[in-house]
């Protein structure tokens, strides 16, 4: 196989990882909303935890995006 084609296919495969991060971020915000609607007065105190969980989960999606972009432009 042509190396250039393999690179493009690899970039596409790497982007699958972003789907998992999408599911994770959805679970985090969905569960936060669920908890926040049950007890709205406690919700602002958990905002730090929410953002922290979001950033840690989103970072995994960013990793696969970085791999895809490196394959496309930097290698």
């Amino acid at each position: 196989m042509d190396a250039e084609a393999a690179k493009l296919i690899g970039a596409g495969i790497a982007c699958i990882g972003m789907g998992g991060a999408g599911i994770g971020v959805g679970i985090i915000f969905g569960n936060f909303l669920q908890g926040a609607l049950r007890n709205p007065s406690e919700a602002p105190k958990q905002f730090g935890n929410l953002i922290f969980g979001f950033a840690v989960t989103e970072a995994l999606g960013i990793f696969s995006l970085a791999i895809a972009l490196i394959l496309l432009y930097a290698s």
Binding site: I51, F52, A55, A59, I62, F63, L65, A66, L69, Y73
Partner: protein, 264 residues
């Protein structure tokens, strides 16, 4: 010029190149300032700028030290209180006493470097893994040194969490050891990849605009879509710039807390 030519001639990775000769038109510092490969390049310039601007701002803002603070003093005090609360929540009063200046410096420097990098044509030091890895290793070594100095051999209790039946140690201990030693890796890559991928994404999507305009008048109208997306992603990047500084400092606090109280 075809669409392919335009989208390929737009080189989104170029913004991360470190220019050792510093012959960029915007920052044309003389090349004689450096000796060999240790030139005062744009990476060094922006690291010094991030340090200097943050320090200068805090000096200037806190100079009056008024009982009723002015606008700048409110900003400085809010930042101080924000990080102070973060360290206290994650590492306790002992952590505040020992590590608050370290965490505050890390947070401010990363935040300053990220925000400085948001200006177009500016260099972002945190988009280079050598910079983030240096800070992550610094935190890792601090955890090791403080952990062994304070707890001695009891520091190994980190790998043997209390309150579980002993046969589980065969499973839990290898996992704990693995997660402990992969910390500096994930710590460094998280900050680097977020900033790197974010800045790259802005450039890639912005590159669609001239490509669509060059494709003809019909496609040219469509170029409003990537233009709007560029603005939206740029706004998101401001959030990421703050968030990653926060997450880096937060994780530092959590790791340092392990060094102070290894028994979970």
């Amino acid at each position: 010029m075809t669409i392919e030519d335009l989208s390929l001639s737009n080189d989104p990775i170029h913004q991360f190149h470190v220019d050792n000769n510093v012959n960029q038109p915007l920052f044309g510092l003389p090349a004689e300032w450096g000796i060999g490969n240790v030139a005062f390049n744009d990476a060094a310039l922006f690291m010094v700028a991030a340090t200097g601007l943050t320090a200068a701002f805090f000096y200037w803002a806190m100079k009056p030290a008024a009982m009723v603070p002015g606008r700048a003093q409110v900003v400085a005090e809010t930042g101080y209180n924000f990080v102070h609360g973060m360290v206290r929540d994650a590492a306790g009063e002992e952590g505040v006493k020992k590590f608050f200046p370290f965490v505050f410096t890390l947070f401010l420097w990363i935040f300053g470097a990220n925000m400085l990098g948001m200006f177009p044509y500016f260099f972002t030091p945190t988009s280079h893994i050598i910079v983030t890895a240096t800070m992550a290793i610094m935190v890792f070594v601090t955890v090791l040194v403080v952990g062994f100095a304070k707890n001695g051999m009891k520091f190994f209790k980190l790998f043997f969490p209390s309150g579980i039946p002993w046969p589980l140690y065969f499973v839990v201990t290898p996992i704990e050891i693995l997660s402990f030693f992969s910390r500096p890796l994930s710590h460094a890559i998280r900050l680097w990849a977020n900033i790197f991928a974010g800045h790259l994404l802005v450039k890639v999507i912005a590159g669609f605009v001239p490509a669509l305009i060059a494709a003809g008048i019909g496609y040219g109208i469509l170029s409003i879509i990537p233009l709007g997306m560029t603005v939206a992603i740029y706004a998101l990047e401001f959030l990421v710039a703050f968030l990653q500084a926060y997450v880096f400092a937060m994780l530092t606090c959590i790791y340092l807390n392990d060094a102070l109280h290894p028994g979970h």
